[in-house]
């Protein structure tokens, strides 16, 4: 029982970070129907911007975090302006392919600028570990969970309680209709990409804080694929649930199946789960029920 609580708990904490990765994919997918394959690289860019502010310039965390996120949002906006904007109105596939190219391009740039060794990453947040002897939740994952959840909350508030959020949702549904009603769809897409890269920076900072930061950290971005496919490509709540499912699944497999001799099974388990989910619900667990008029 203790094992179960431990596995589910630590899985959920990491899962919340995955949710945030999923959210970033979902935001962009909803707005432009493109899948952002450069998510891992965006994550590393955001983390490095924060790294420079916090570790190199020694700004206090409270200032460095918002500044870092703003810088990440700026970077996302610049990338969108240069690479994505010319494609608005074209097929989403071409945008998806551009993100693939962006992934390679950004990775190469990062390696040129930062090299490829690891940068140590200690945030020194207050210790809030829960340790009852048998149960143990470390401080870093708890902080990651809290921050991820609050980022999720902020995004939800923005989307569902503000006029800009309403415009984002309208544009996400149909760019042409939104433009016809005076919503500047290009501007909205810029905002979506900026918000997405700010969120992703939070995920990147938390993941870097678990270990260290290097350009190779971008592999973690691939975790977002099972998350959004399980949760549903266009569902924000689905990203939350999908992330938790992937996190818990990894941790359960790690606790219960790997000791039985299935060593390394943890890596593939989310994808097996993904296959099962897609067989039952092709749109993902919470993919939008298409409004069909009869």
């Amino acid at each position: 029982m203790i094992d179960l609580i431990q596995a589910v708990g630590s899985g959920m904490l990491v899962g919340l970070v995955y949710s945030l990765l999923g959210l970033c994919i979902v935001l962009i997918y909803k707005a432009s129907e493109a899948f952002n394959f450069a998510i891992g690289e965006f994550m590393v860019v955001g983390s490095f911007l924060f790294y420079i502010l916090f570790f190199d310039l020694h700004l206090p965390f409270i200032i460095a975090l918002p500044l870092g996120l703003a810088a990440a949002a700026g970077a996302g906006a610049i990338i969108q302006r240069l690479a994505i904007k010319p494609l608005i109105g074209r097929s989403p596939i071409s945008m998806t392919i551009v993100t693939l190219g962006l992934a390679f391009f950004i990775r190469a740039c990062l390696q040129l600028i930062f090299g490829s060794h690891s940068y140590s990453f200690f945030l020194e947040l207050p210790d809030i570990s829960i340790d009852t002897g048998e149960l143990l939740f470390l401080s870093d994952p708890i902080w990651a969970g809290i921050l991820a959840l609050s980022a999720f909350g902020v995004v939800m508030f923005f989307l569902f309680r503000t006029r800009w959020g309403l415009a984002v949702r309208a544009t996400s549904e149909n760019q042409a209709k939104a433009m016809a009603f005076g919503i500047n769809a290009r501007m909205i897409l810029l905002i979506v990409w900026a918000a997405s890269s700010a969120c992703i920076a939070i995920a990147g900072i938390m993941i870097s804080n678990f270990g260290a930061l290097s350009t190779m950290s971008s592999i973690v971005g691939l975790r977002a694929i099972p998350v959004v496919l399980i949760g549903g490509m266009d569902s924000i709540g689905g990203a939350l649930i999908g992330g938790i499912i992937v996190g818990v699944c990894e941790s359960m497999v790690g606790t219960y199946l790997e000791p039985l001799g299935l060593i390394g099974f943890k890596e593939v388990a989310p994808y097996i789960l993904l296959l099962i989910v897609l067989l039952i619900r092709p749109y993902g667990l919470f993919g939008t029920v298409r409004i069909e008029r009869v």
Partner: protein
């Protein structure tokens, strides 16, 4: 940049040798390949150390009894295909009489080249791989007569750690050991041999865990080790500078408070101090080279003559790169890599000279020189000599990391080093 320099240098060398020596004289050609860029990262230090070393050999070092070595350096970008292709290209371009020694760096290239090197070309091949599969009991001189490794195999390294546990275990009962290794050829290499040996000498291997490079969380792995009540954890198959290592050490430090963390060659490293910081304190690891370099780089000369030599070389030939900070891309971040490049150059000079002294400067002559080699490697192993009959340099030492966080300006930075806690161990002399 390096490559251009290299091209210019080799052009000059070729030209000068053409002009200076009689046309009939046989050249000595050597091919070296290092990963200086590529997916694992920019590691130009290899090339710098090698270039400085070879230039010294051909100049002040006196060459091979006065004869100059024509050397070629290729960056194979950590890609075995490139390594193989480069070798094939040089084999096709150069005559067997002149091209008498080649070096490589990774296991991935050794496998596809096994037949080509050992059966067709029969050219001595020095390699940076510590693969147990190729240099261990199942491979070795009988199977791959022309392959030589510049370090003890991972199997020997893990066994040396097990032996250390056995010798140093305090408390009652069998020592309980957990193995954590990467799900790669590297992580799996040497692990079975180590575990078999542990059982033989009466250790309990209580957990075997695969921990992937792409991990974001090590809580589960550490909890498993805690449940298994492991007292020692051997962490094998990872670079000390990678993110997953930092995750593991940070988590282990908190979850596994009384557990001795241990590891193999590339985890025992000054880069680990920089990346894992305090979490690395107290780590015990085995390495095949002396790792005396402190963080930050100490100004006082090292005790070890080889390290001293490497520092002298770096200060003399690369003053700029030597001075720059660790975060600079064009800095000598890791002296081990620089020393490794230099090691190759010195090794090449040594065996070629031996072969020349024996009067047979050919591929077979170099092989004989390698087989008969008994050397102290400029005092690298504390003055101990080793022989090359196992086709590996069988020397290992066990180190303990001491890391302290120190306030410098407005930042806390890690300081510390890995210090030897045993004498050099010669794997050939131990009855495993």
């Amino acid at each position: 940049m390096n490559r251009r320099l290299l091209v210019v240098l080799s052009c000059v060398l070729i030209l000068s040798s053409v002009v200076l020596s009689p046309a009939s004289a046989k050249e000595i050609k050597v091919l070296s390949q290092f990963p200086m860029s590529g997916p694992v990262g920019a590691l130009p230090e290899f090339g710098w150390g090698y270039i400085d070393g070879m230039n010294w050999v051909n100049g002040e070092g006196g060459g091979v009894n006065g004869k100059k070595i024509t050397w070629f350096l290729e960056d194979f970008r950590y890609d075995p295909t490139v390594e193989v292709a480069n070798f094939n290209k040089y084999c096709a371009e150069m005559s067997r009489d002149e091209f008498i020694l080649a070096t490589g760096y990774i296991t991935g290239g050794l496998k596809p080249l096994a037949d080509k090197v050992n059966k067709e070309e029969k050219i001595p091949w020095l390699d940076g791989s510590y693969s147990t599969e190729i240099f261990g009991p199942d491979g070795g001189p009988s199977k791959y007569p022309y392959y030589y490794s510049l370090g003890a195999t991972y199997g020997d390294q893990v066994k040396a750690l097990m032996r250390w546990i056995k010798q140093n275990h305090k408390g009652k009962g069998k020592p309980r050991v957990g193995m954590v290794y990467s799900p790669t050829a590297w992580g799996k290499d040497g692990t079975p041999e180590g575990i078999a040996y542990a059982k033989k000498i009466g250790l309990d291997v209580v957990a075997e865990i695969e921990y992937p490079y792409s991990a974001t969380d090590a809580t589960n792995e550490c909890m498993q080790l805690r449940k298994a009540k492991a007292q020692y954890v051997i962490y094998h198959g990872y670079s000390g500078a990678s993110g997953c290592t930092a995750i593991f050490f940070k988590t282990a430090k908190k979850v596994l408070k009384d557990v001795q963390l241990m590891g193999t060659h590339y985890t025992t490293n000054r880069m680990s101090i920089l990346v894992c910081q305090e979490a690395y304190d107290g780590y015990v690891g085995v390495a095949t080279r002396p790792f005396l370099d402190a963080v930050p780089r100490s100004k006082t000369p090292m005790e070890n003559p080889m390290i001293k030599l490497a520092h002298e070389f770096a200060q003399k030939y690369r003053p700029e790169e030597y001075k720059r900070g660790v975060k600079d891309k064009d800095a000598i971040k890791d002296m081990f890599l620089y020393m490794e490049g230099l090691t190759y150059a010195l090794m090449i000079q040594k065996v070629l000279t031996d072969a020349d002294n024996a009067g047979d400067l050919s591929r077979e002559g170099v092989k004989k020189a390698l087989d008969n080699l008994v050397w102290d490697f400029k005092g690298m192993f504390g003055g101990k000599k080793f022989s090359y009959k196992s086709h590996t340099i069988p020397m290992m030492q066990i180190f303990r990391a001491e890391v302290k966080m120190v306030q410098m300006g407005d930042a806390t930075v890690p300081t510390g080093s890995v210090n030897p806690i045993t004498d050099w161990i010669n794997s050939d002399e131990i009855k495993w």
